[in-house]
């Protein structure tokens, strides 16, 4: 028998992934064009052509050993330098190459950070609703996850609850911004208030409490919104990033950690990240992808594509009587379930071949997540199905009838 822990994990395995597989099965039966799968955050927009070109160029020009060989566990210095410079230009920060550690995506980055900072039973705050994988990432390193409630009118965190949840055992807080699953951006005001609470608590408990940002959606923002860059507000910050969304390359597993140069014991923290990258079995971020990145720092996938989707799905659903906050970033819509039991709503949506993920997966029951990183045409095709779903729940407002 495999481990008891893993038996439990399998039993409660990711609802998101389960839905993804269910969608594939449904597509086999009724045709892919008739399934409206909004379940998975799998970027739809193509990779920027420059990125594929950079891959080909690297393969054609670099020596084998340099291109596919081992390097420092933290990554190629030139890639780290390119990222440091790019961040400094965009955010007025002062990163040197040494503050950047290349990782196997943001999932890898978060695990490397937690391996570096957590002792058993250390507590990590997460702001509900949150990406369910955080549970595993924290548990992998024997940390204890503590949830902070949201203010559901804005989906900014409830700061009173946040302060109450901090204890002597608190070692870190994860700040995912823009937020999966709500599409909300935590404002500068929110970040400043969190920083101020943490500063106070650090003094009270006489040890560091780290901000760990998780920012794969940083570049996917709309209407000119800005995502605060955390190292400018709080020194004890690890920024974790993935190129999965900004370059549409989630399968390639490439990201980084940026360590605030003003972090306490900064050099030791950087050494720890490098060691953790090795010990956890990542060893280093994939080498060819590191090389290709160097020339693609300002490349972006087609954000306008997601924006167009966002407008269509948001306008339509709110007109149909569904209730949700207009996303400011990422590619998710977090819809209030019209059924008191969100699970029933997810099942009802499936009747119309609409696949959504229940908010319980994000520790926020009573809601569902819709991922609009899909084709515009699919959204168009799905609208009659949403109409029927709204009708079933008698949501459609009088004036639009």
């Amino acid at each position: 028998m495999i481990s008891k822990q893993m038996q439990q994990e399998i039993a409660g395995s990711s609802a998101i992934r389960a839905m993804f597989l269910e969608g594939k099965e449904m597509a086999k039966k009724i045709g892919a064009e008739n399934v409206y799968d909004f379940s998975l955050g799998n970027p739809m927009t193509p990779v920027p052509e420059a990125y594929n070109q950079a891959i080909i160029e690297a393969v054609q020009t670099e020596t084998s050993l340099e291109l596919h060989g081992y390097m420092d566990n933290a990554g190629y210095p030139e890639t780290r330098q390119a990222i440091a410079q790019n961040l400094n230009q965009r955010f007025g920060t002062e990163f040197e190459f040494k503050h950047i550690v290349m990782t196997v995506g943001a999932a890898g980055a978060l695990n490397v950070v937690f391996k570096t900072i957590l002792d058993p039973s250390d507590e990590v705050l997460v702001l509900a609703p949150y990406f369910g994988e955080y549970r595993g990432y924290i548990a992998n390193h024997q940390g204890i996850l503590k949830e902070v409630k949201p203010d559901t009118s804005t989906f900014q965190p409830d700061l009173t609850d946040l302060e109450e949840k901090i204890s002597e055992k608190t070692k870190a807080i994860i700040i995912n911004n823009p937020v999966n699953p709500t599409g909300v951006i935590y404002s500068e005001e929110t970040i400043k208030k969190i920083a101020s609470i943490l500063e106070r608590k650090q003094k009270e408990y006489a040890h560091e409490i780290y901000m760990v940002s998780d920012e794969p959606y940083r570049e996917l923002v709309y209407d000119g919104y800005k995502v605060p860059f955390l190292t400018k507000y709080y020194h004890n910050t690890f920024v974790t990033y993935s190129f999965s969304k900004s370059l549409s390359i989630p399968g390639e597993r490439i990201g980084y950690i940026a360590v605030c140069p003003n972090m306490a014991d900064c050099e030791q923290a950087i050494s720890g990240l490098s060691v953790a990258n090795r010990i956890l079995g990542f060893v280093n971020a994939p080498s060819l992808m590191q090389k290709a990145l160097i020339k693609c720092m300002d490349e972006r996938t087609d954000v306008a594509y997601y924006d167009k989707n966002r407008n269509l799905i948001y306008e339509t659903l709110t007109k149909l009587g569904f209730s949700c906050i207009k996303p400011q970033g990422a590619f998710y819509l977090f819809i209030q379930s019209p059924d008191p039991e969100e699970k029933k709503f997810v099942e009802t949506a499936k009747k119309y071949h609409i696949l959504l993920v229940g908010g319980t997966s994000f520790s926020c029951p009573g809601y569902v997540r819709l991922a609009y990183c899909v084709s515009y045409e699919m959204i168009e095709r799905s609208l009659p199905a949403f109409q029927k779903l709204a009708e079933e729940y008698k949501l459609i407002p009088e004036e639009s009838c």
Copy 2:
């Protein structure tokens, strides 16, 4: 402060990596051509041209979403199918695609296996001398490492000691074959005997004890030696593999786990591996590399290159009076330290700009590891330095003077 655990890890950080960095510093001072760095297992031979071609072809022909997008956590079915077929052809096994889980190298594979099978305090046997990273891989999942002594006349495991080390808590044994750091191949006889001991102990304790093979050097064998394929000798076996050595692509982090189709609760084990891949933050093996592999199943780096190195370094060192077993596989030579204190010998070698790693890193004091995955020319240039080293220890046999 970072975690207490990580502070200790940094303090005792990998001697191999430390030596690698020391070599780089030495090269800056006296010129790279005057440093004889035998410290790191960084493959020197070029990537087969077909592999680079397969990368370019995949980039030029596949859609972005298919090439760089998410896939099942276990990997692309076509890659898994290609590997299953290739193994079946070569070893007469009966793998289907579902028995293969793509991983971030063998380091990733081992962590995924241990996450799947280990509950806290479960014990894992390792055969000394062994790759020091196993310590971290087992500790990551709260397992306890138990060392089994070698028979130092052959560097096959001491099977009496092995049997004594098995307890009710034993959950697995790692079989690294060919062995890093000795270059020895565990014979079919050894494997059969281990299998027989484990079968008996499984019955005694009424639970599975897994063989976890670690085979990155499987294709690097000399003189027609054969490496037994473990699933043929023992059902409860996970084979972990990396293409790092056979294709000279260690920086790319690509490997797999093959689950014996006859394993107890095989389906559950496979589900566990997939979940572990996700939870540990690997998510999936790098996607472009998976695609490139499909067409390169029979591609190999230039094994003759390593063989030529092996012969030169082995013949020379034994003539100089050093004592070691002639390697049958991998690209390491495990030399008995002529100094009772191996550390002193490593330091003395450094005086002559020869970089070796002490056997203590492999839990086998009194030896040093020499990695001959270097250029033939470097070995030639290093020979006078070895001569001086031998002279300093008065090793050179009378007849060769």
